[in-house]
Assembly symmetry: C2
Homo-oligomer: 355 residues x 2
DNA sequence: TTGAAAGCGGTACCAT
DNA sequence: ATGGTACCGCTTTCAA
């Protein structure tokens, strides 16, 4: 177990096989210009002595840098800025391996992504990270990159029908479940409501499903009395909230499955004296901190945007440098954030850089 | 921002300064045998062109492997096996950098650590990771390693008076706070109790403090009616629990700040019909899973032992390869684990390996 | 004090 | 089809 025996190198293989290191390289990398016999012999030897290539050395000899391109939205700063930051810092940590960032922005999710991707298709990049807004339009574009041998990883949103390598995100269904379980435990009455951005959005629908299932499973006589859409508009969110309060005077909890929860908080903070409504929200940004501390928000489910960007880079790096194929989804854990662990995640959870 | 300009190398510095790369190396590493004038000149140039050494290349030239030694307990398998696993896999991921593990075990925390460390002092190791049991006895030993220029990182427990580089752990006070806040939100009555292993243990005492403060702050008329010690003995834990139930028929919650919570669960599961007691526990292992699913345990605070081992390795690696000094404490986030996010952490949370 | 050169473990390209 | 060798960026040793 405590082995520090020297790792075998191509030289070892070469001398064992009685050939040059050039030939060994040919055999190992399936290059042409080598006798199938010798290749087989070399591969057998390599296998036998447990050869594994030294990535450090092989990277050192790479002449062209690896360029990792990214396309992220600007709007919803609190979220995508963190994704971008994670992306950049992950690359920064890989600088010794000659990895460089090439970052593009679109105004908001789904706005002009095609243009940027078209432009990127001309550039000489080695990998692509993006948050696809319009899947149906983007799928063919994504596939074009893949066909050019440029792996693509989606972040936070997905384009599952495309040939992207993997998707880094928090499983929305699980996220909903966690919210449902938590609210079921906190709530003092059986009736709760859900607010989403839009039920058209797959992510939001899945959160609703996960929440509903978990809440009903955990709460003996629980009931989800309403699912309302705020279409990411503050006034509508406020209006919806007031309506909920009026319509269900005994409402015991609300789960806001989209990031736009501030309007809800405002309404609840004002009406606070009359109702005892437990609020579970999604994501984390500045305006929420006070509401968390004041107890208007009981807990929020954090999706770790910084880490999403970070992980995307590392998945791609591993794929490019050692052909390691990731599973089709790379799910991060949703995190229950309350007052006492807020500091870990706000203003921004800096993953301690590994290596 | 999108720079892929080639990073400057010592060669660049050399030609700019009109010296050989050997001299540049001497200047950069403060080696002897160089004119202070030239050194200064070289350092200025390096600074000006923003030189940063390529760790990949420098590691490649290292002839001797780095040996990372570890001493972990065997008992409390569910916890220390994960720490060990994290330690090993982190090193595995660094194998291209010629890092090798040297793992020793002691039977349980504080049992015979001195012997093992004495033995290790003779060996040619480059770094040491351990879970110090008896601090007072271990401090001088730890310092001996440090004085031999072998950095030491403590994991999960600490030896703060020693010269260890840093300690990787979950801040027990924060852990307690999180428990307190959570229980305050879940509980249906004001009176709760705490069970620890022993109040002699700093870690447990801090959890008690953190819990108490947070619970009282969050719960308007909350009251911590008892703090009992189970001395990590099942019978005692069971006995204590029964006593609590008898003495405080209105008990609304229990926080078990030590890992030994199964006995408590058993008692509560039996008495379940009479009392509505919310239970928050610590750590996660097999026997707890059922109790979580049945709702006997409301939530448990996971301390991510796997990641603790992993992080220790990477902190040491960074320290050794780039002199990066970590802060005196490396706190990991305590994680709220309930049914719906259990899968991420059990049987064992495998951090997706980065790079 | 300084320079030159070998070598780490691969890759790439030339020559044979 | 195969061998030889320069080179990536740095460390280390040996000469000068």
């Amino acid at each position: 177990m405590n082995d520090h025996k020297r790792r075998p190198t191509i030289k070892d293989i070469a001398s064992l096989a009685g050939v040059s290191i050039g030939t060994v390289d040919r055999a190992l990398h399936n290059r042409r210009g080598i006798d199938p016999q010798t290749r087989q012999r070399i591969l057998t030897i390599a296998e036998k002595i447990g050869y594994r290539k030294n990535r450090v050395a092989s990277i050192l000899t790479r002449k062209k840098p690896l360029v990792f391109a990214a396309v992220f939205p600007q709007k919803l700063h609190y979220f995508y800025d963190d994704v971008r930051q994670g992306f950049k810092e992950a690359i920064e940590a890989l600088q010794d391996f000659k990895v460089y960032p090439l970052v593009y922005s679109v105004e908001s999710l789904g706005q002009g992504e095609e243009n940027v991707l078209q432009k990127l298709l001309q550039e000489d990049i080695d990998a692509l990270v993006l948050t696809p807004g319009h899947r149906s339009k983007l799928n063919p574009l994504i596939n074009q990159f893949v066909e050019k041998n440029i792996p693509v990883v989606t972040v936070s949103t997905d384009a599952p029908e495309s040939k992207r390598l993997t998707s880094v995100c928090v499983n929305p269904y699980q996220n909903g479940e966690l919210a449902g379980e938590l609210l079921a435990k906190i709530v003092t009455g059986p009736r709760v409501a859900i607010m989403v951005g839009s039920l058209e959005i797959e992510d939001h629908r899945q959160k609703v499903d996960g929440f509903t299932n978990a809440f009903l499973a955990m709460h003996p006589d629980g009931e989800v009395v309403a699912v309302v859409e705020n279409h990411e508009r503050e006034e509508l969110a406020a209006q919806n909230t007031e309506e909920l309060l009026r319509k269900y005077p005994d409402l015991a909890g609300i789960y806001v499955a989209t990031a736009n929860s501030v309007a809800v908080c405002k309404v609840l903070a004002e009406q606070h004296t009359n109702h005892d409504i437990k609020l579970i929200t999604t994501d984390l940004f500045e305006e929420m901190v006070d509401y968390l501390k004041k107890g208007v928000i009981q807990a929020t489910l954090f999706q770790n945007p910084y880490r999403q960007g970070w992980e995307a880079v590392n998945i791609l790096f591993q794929f490019l440098t050692e052909k390691r194929k990731p599973p089709t989804h790379h799910y991060l854990e949703p995190v229950v954030v309350m007052c006492s662990n807020l500091d870990f995640y706000y203003p921004q959870f800096k993953r301690r850089v590994l290596k």
